[in-house]
């Protein structure tokens, strides 16, 4: 039983990580929490659906289309909900992205709300359960988990080894110093939103066959991803990954050993306990602050 539960927890953790690292990426570069991250994911999922299911384009095209659409959406989001308020207080920033979240949800409902209650996205691989010894897996869950790991590795490398990644980190670290060395901070912020949203695009195209698509999917995904990010320290990609896997495991094990009524609350109880003892999260560099 433990092995099954742990495996399920890891798979779910991969989903949470895909959402969480987008939040962390934007936070690291801009100091803002993008409350619309889940809704960007929703839009991306529907874009992929339109390309793949409605227009019968190959999956890879749909994935890239969702990534591209979200990149543009991220640029727009930065223009509308972040740049005008970059120097405003944190509350205004939060409200702006919350507002964006509602706008996107409304948009999703109007454009895709009439296609079905929960749209199913065809699995990328034949979905007959496969056995590895005693362990039973659905191929689609393997694809999502593998895809999540790949995406996370790519983004970690991006941050560490590209000059844009380093500029984002520098801007997050010290916005004033970043300007003084000649980094165009506005542009970095816009790109951070765009890249963070593009990540949501990739995530959505990966997870849609598992989560199904509906206009209200954004918030529940956001809250789990955000929890993973906070748990991990909010500014640490490895921490977020760790936090996401931890939440997935806690939920699954609590559901299995305590009772299925504890799935949703268990993770948050543990997070609260951890944050009480260690306010900076598992791997965070500092207590939560406005960068």
């Amino acid at each position: 039983m433990f092995a099954y539960l742990a495996l399920a927890g890891l798979t779910n953790g991969a989903l949470y990580a895909l959402v969480g690292i987008g939040i962390v990426l934007i936070y690291k570069a801009t100091g803002a929490i993008n409350f619309a991250q889940g809704d960007m994911l929703m839009v991306a999922g529907f874009v992929a659906y339109t390309l793949h299911v409605t227009l019968h384009l190959p999956y890879l095209v749909a994935l890239l289309g969702a990534v591209a659409a979200c990149f543009v959406l991220g640029l727009l989001a930065e223009r509308i909900a972040f740049r005008p308020l970059a120097n405003a207080d944190i509350i205004s920033l939060v409200l702006a992205t919350v507002g964006l979240s509602f706008m996107l949800k409304g948009f999703g409902r109007v454009v895709w709300g009439g296609l079905g209650d929960y749209l199913s996205f065809p699995p990328l691989v034949p979905n007959d359960p496969i056995m590895f010894g005693d362990i039973i897996l659905l191929p689609q869950q393997l694809v999502v988990t593998g895809g999540a790991v790949l995406v996370i590795v790519v983004f970690a490398l991006f941050f560490k080894f590209t000059s844009l990644g380093r500029m984002m980190q520098a801007t997050a670290d010290n916005r004033r110093a970043a300007r003084l060395v000649g980094i165009r901070v506005d542009r970095v912020h816009a790109l951070a939103f765009a890249v963070g949203a593009a990540l949501a695009g990739a995530a959505a195209a990966l997870m849609a066959p598992i989560t199904l698509l509906y206009p209200d999917i954004g918030f529940p995904l956001f809250i789990k991803g955000f929890a993973a990010a906070v748990f991990g320290g909010l500014d640490s990609l490895p921490g977020t990954l760790l936090g996401a896997v931890a939440i997935g495991l806690i939920e699954s094990l609590a559901g299995g050993y305590v009772g299925s009524g504890f799935v949703d609350v268990s993770a948050f109880l543990v997070i609260m306990a951890v944050l009480l003892i260690r306010p900076r999260g598992l791997l965070g560099s500092a207590a939560l602050r406005r960068a």
């Binding site: 670290d173 010290n174 110093a177 970043a178 003084l180 000649g182």
Partner: protein
């Protein structure tokens, strides 16, 4: 090298600079002095493009850069070492230095320039894989200076480099500024510490009430009781 004429800057309704004019000749070390709130940092931030002046001209090598964005000014050859050693704390010394070269096109040269910085501050070579935030105050100041040098400036703006450093480290800092000068750099040094300014600068300007109230040689500053009393408290 740098020619500032009639600079006026306000924060909202409060005018901080009311027509500041001065020039820094090539190869000179000029100290800009003044009490708290006299507008010294405002001058530097306006020169660096962090603030937009309402009026005035900033000629950098003959080109007016007033109100231009920071990255253009850095590329034009004027870099700032900010006050309080604002390094990228979570990044390594090497990454900090490389970020200093953001505006340059000749990225191939960056490795060699890093070597130059290490020649100037050998301590950084030993620490170049360390996170900048974990270094001592003096070492962080070196990182901040080295980072500014990576942009190939011809004039370096230094905002109170001695603040928060122990007297021994301040001595090292004065030595470093002399070395930079010896390598042909022009320096505009904002200081509150008259001792540091007198020790290193050729000329001194004293800012008071949003204007330049005194301009003269820096060497005699400590003996000039009138300047000390009336402007610097």
């Amino acid at each position: 090298m740098l020619d500032v004429q009639g600079l006026e800057v306000s924060y909202g309704a409060t005018r901080v600079l009311e027509g500041v004019s001065f020039s820094v000749l090539e190869g000179r070390i000029v100290a800009l002095l003044g009490g708290n709130g006299s507008g010294k940092s405002t001058v530097l931030n306006t020169l660096s493009g962090l603030l937009r002046p309402q009026k005035g001209v900033i000629l950098l090598s003959g080109r007016n850069v007033a109100g231009r964005p920071t990255h253009e000014i850095v590329r034009g050859g004027m870099a700032q070492v900010p006050q309080g050693r604002e390094v990228f704390a979570s990044m390594t010394v090497a990454e900090n230095l490389d970020l200093g070269a953001t505006t340059r096109h000749d990225k191939a040269e960056v490795g060699r320039d890093r070597e130059d910085v290490f020649a100037l501050f050998p301590r950084l070579r030993e620490r170049f894989r360390r996170r900048a935030g974990s270094l001592s105050g003096g070492e962080q100041q070196m990182v901040a200076i080295g980072r500014a040098l990576m942009s190939h400036p011809r004039i370096l703006l230094m905002d109170e480099p001695s603040v928060g450093l122990s007297p021994a480290v301040v001595g090292d800092m004065i030595e470093a500024i002399r070395m930079l000068h010896a390598r042909g750099l022009t320096v505009l040094l904002v200081e509150q510490n008259v001792g540091v300014a007198a020790a290193v600068a050729h000329e001194a300007k004293v800012l008071q009430g949003g204007r330049i109230a005194y301009s003269g040689p820096a060497a005699g500053l400590l003996d000039n009781e009138e300047v000390l009393r009336s402007y610097l408290g």
